[in-house]
Structures are given as C-alpha cells and as structure tokens.
Subunit: 305 residues, 2 copies
C-alpha cells in the first residue's frame, strides 16, 4: 500500500509514472484542498481535479490542468458579460464544478463527491481530499490578503509573499481515511509539490503530521526544488518570503520530523552530504519529468529509496 | 410605443417580425417568468432567454431556444456524472445562467440582470420580466404537482392537465416598468403564446390586468390556437383540462375584459362572427409564421388591427 501527499501539477506528473508501476488500487492520494475556491457560485477544487483528471487519463497534458480537448465557450461568453474570467474553466470541466456544487448543497461531503467523480471516471486509486472542511490558503501581499488562486493565477505570482494564512486550519478535520491511509501504508511519498501551499496545508490538518511521525511506513520526499528554483509555481518566492532556504535542503528541513528518505535532483548532488547530516538517506537522480519514461524512472527510484 | 406580452417561442417568432418594422427602442416586451427554474443550482429563465436571444439575433432558430451553434459539452459530462439532463443547457447558454445566478446572489433583481444581459447583447428593445419575485408555474398531473418545465420538457406534455398552480402569484409584484409599459403604450400586443402558462401568468401579477383595462393603448391579441390546436406546446391540453374551449374564440374570452381586437388565422375564419359578437374587431389572416416574410406580414397586420 502506497500513500502519496499531493498538490497539483508536479504531483500529478509524478503519480502518472507511479501508476505505471504499481497497482492502481494500492495507491491512495491525499490531496491539498487549500486552493479550493468559489467562483460564479461554483465550488472548485483545483488540485483534486488535476489529480483526478490526470489519473483518469483525461487531463490536458499541455496545460497540466483541465480536461483534454475541452472547449471554453461558456467562459468566453462570461467574459462578454463583463465577468473577470482569470480562472480557466472549460466546458467539460464546468460539469465537475456544477456537480460538486450541487452535491455539496445536498449535504454530500467533498470526499463522497470525489469518490463519485472518480467512480464515473473509472479511477481505481483512492483520491482523498485532505479535509472535508473549509480550508482556504491565502497569501499576504502588499495589497493585503488574497486567495491563493488569485495570487497564483490572476496575479501571476508577481507579488512578494509577506505571509501565508491557512484559514480554517485550526478546525479542519482530516477527511475519513486520511489518517488510516498514512498509518496503514508501507510507503508514503511526499510528492514534488509546493512545500508551503500544497504539502504544508495537508501537514497542518489535525493529526496528519502526527500520523506521518507514527506510521511504520517508509516516508520518502521528492524535492520540488531543483537547482534553487521550483520547476513550476512560486515555491521559491514563498520559501524565501517565509525565511526558508530555497533548496532541496530547505525543503527537507520542513519535513524533517517525519521523513526517512529524500530524493533530490542530479543538479543538487552537492547538497547530498548536508541533507544526509540531517539523518536521512538521500538518493540523487533526475527529478525533472519531461517524458513518461522520466516519470516512471523517478517513480521506480522513489519506490526503492 | 408598443408593448408586447410574451411567452417563449411563439412570441419570439412574432417579435422577430415586429422588430423588422418598428424601431427597436419603441418596443417593450413583458415576459413570463413562471417557467423559471433552478437546475444544478442555476437560476434559469427560459422565456426571458428565448426572447432575449431571439431579439439579439443569436437564438438557435431550429430549436427555438438556446444560442445558435452552441455546444453541449458540459451537459454531456453532467450526464456522465449520472445527472438527469432533461433540460437543454448549451455551453454558451450556461454563461447566462451562471451570470444571472451570481448576480441574484449579489442582490441584483431579475430586471437589472436582464438589462445587463440585453446591454451586452446589444438589444435596444426593453425586456421586462413580469416580476422580480419568485413565481412558479406548476402543473397538477395524476402523479401530483410538477414544475411546468418538468411537465413540458421532461414529461413531454404527456400528462393530462388536472390543474395549474401559480406559486407566488398572490405576492408577486410587477417588475418596475411593467405597469408603465402598459399604460404608456399606444399599442399592446398579446403575443401568440400559451394563454394559461405564458400570458395567464403575466395577467395574474398584481395590477397587470387592471392596467390592460385602463390603458388608452389599443390592445390586440393574436390567437395561439389555429384550427383547434396550438402550433406548438400544450395549450390545447391545458385549455381543455381547465374547461375552456380550444379555439381562437376560447382564447379571446380569456382576454375579453381588456382586448380591443383579435387576430385569428385564415383557417378559423368561421369563428370571426362569433368573436365579433363578443364586442371586438377581428382580423383574419395567416398567423402561421414559417418564413421571416410571414412574421413581418403578421406584424404589419397586427399593427393595423
């Protein structure tokens, strides 16, 4: 049994490789819901959708999100109505948001709805929202606090990160199955996702960090930082803004209390000794996943780290 | 100044002709909102959309509703999620519903939102929802009371009509401008729409019927019943179910207290004398609008009736 902690695109790439070499139904993925946002009255769960669409084989691989070959007729028309359409909403993708929003109104939990969507899309792996409760990641900028997706998509990560807020973190309970997935796993993988707003959110949910410490599973992290910068997204600005070192070493320190092993990129080979001194085993390999072979190769290395 | 009372497709056809021969900004259309329905959390106003899309020149003329060349990707995906997708929702059309729903949540009225949509679509005529208040037409069938759209679309008008309910009618106020549009007009046209669930709803809103009686405007009706049956829709079953005669004569009697003139179809020429005996002037002409010329020709006759 393997459990992964995942954000969006980076995690999705890694999991694409992993699912090629393990049984899909041996895999549980605990997904960040801090990016969840309400737009046009719809409850959107960006990371759950990215992971779900990816594992279902219907993701738009070029974008990394949304449904392949989706159209954007509705969004274009909303733009004509003067709506601020900074968030990409494809027509097929909209169905997921409409369905989720309607089911939430009917009293279903995010986990139940995710199960339903996965079942329709034929997914055999288990997708676990980190929490069914409201949890909102906000970024404090010079213009004040903005929703993470607003910072990320609308403002293109251009603001300096003065702080990060997890609204709801103090009361958010882990979704049913999250703690068990960590405790019952043989391997827990911390995917190469943003350590603050993708993994950090999951870690802040009550009991998750403790379960990671207590589990008998081997806990392996994959550094999202390569040669001092993330492959995608604003992890560097965030780490720097919050006073952390922007490196595989800096990331390892954030996970130190529960990590058994770390996988870092060839370009960071020089950090191996420093990280090992923290008391973990370190594997150095190519972590930049361009082709499916890169993804599978990285997954194999993580499995044996 | 011309004011029309309108339901959906029949009225839209007639108004297409009328707008060819009168100045668009001389025309106000009071539209039935009894068909409004919430589906997938979206507030849908079927008749307002049909009239708006038609006058904006973007209606799907073959269907009579929706946006021309619209795609249905979202609806297809909703169907995969197991949703009951009996109501047609195109991708572009969805934008209207999302926009309306969001603006309603923000506190805007149906009239304000309709103004905004019309402005975006470049409409110069005034579209007036009959009321900003909740008003729901329900059909009493042997299986109980169902929403009009459910009866009309999902159940394909197959039930016998045991009764019609106007939920909210006793408290629905006319939208601002509705009464003035009737009182200030020189001509009021009752479009060839269902006399019970399209025009009857409008007439049941407080003050509308009284304004039609008081106005100095000439009030002209166009019969939606031709040769004992409606061209479209369930008006015959409804009239019969409620005990009215299914004919231009039966329709005229429903409007008798405010009507000055009635336009009936050639095929009902035999009814002319009987209707005239009710005290109105009657024009007999072709009311079946197949081509744009048919529409313009009927509009001209109504203008001079």
């Amino acid at each position: 049994l393997i459990t992964a902690l995942a954000g969006g695109i980076g995690a999705a790439r890694f999991l694409t490789g992993l699912t090629q070499i393990v049984e899909a139904d041996d895999l549980s993925v605990i997904v960040n819901t801090g990016d969840d946002i309400e737009l046009f009255g719809l409850h959107i769960s960006p990371d759950i959708d990215i992971i779900t669409y990816t594992l279902a084989g219907i993701v738009d691989e070029e974008k990394g999100w949304g449904v392949r070959d989706d159209t954007f007729c509705c969004l274009k028309m909303l733009r004509e109505f003067g709506e601020d359409t900074w968030f990409g909403l494809g027509d097929r993708d909209l169905a997921t948001h409409l369905y989720r929003t309607e089911r939430l109104k009917q009293g279903a939990t995010l986990l139940q709805i995710t199960d339903e969507v996965c079942s329709v899309l034929g997914l055999k792996s288990k997708i676990l929202p980190m929490s069914n409760d409201r949890f909102e990641t906000r970024i404090i900028t010079q213009d004040g606090s903005v929703h993470f997706e607003e910072y990320f998509v609308k403002r293109r990560c251009e603001d300096d990160v003065l702080g990060v807020e997890f609204v709801g973190a103090s009361s958010a309970e882990p979704a049913p199955g999250v703690i068990d997935a960590i405790l019952n796993a043989e391997l827990v993988v911390v995917c190469p996702s943003n350590p603050i707003v993708s993994i950090g959110t999951i870690l802040s949910v009550a009991g998750v960090r403790d379960a990671l410490k207590r589990t008998d599973a081997r806990v392996v992290g994959v550094s999202p930082i390569v040669a001092g910068a993330p492959l995608k997204g604003p992890a560097d600005k965030m780490l720097r803004g919050l006073g952390f070192e922007v490196s595989a070493y800096g990331v390892t320190k954030l996970y130190l209390d529960f990590l058994d092993a770390m996988v870092i990129d060839d370009r960071d080979a020089a950090l191996k000794g420093r990280i090992e001194q923290l008391g973990l085993s370190v594997t150095v390999t190519n972590t930049v996943m361009k082709s499916l072979l890169d993804k599978i190769s990285l997954a194999k290395i993580v499995l044996h780290s």
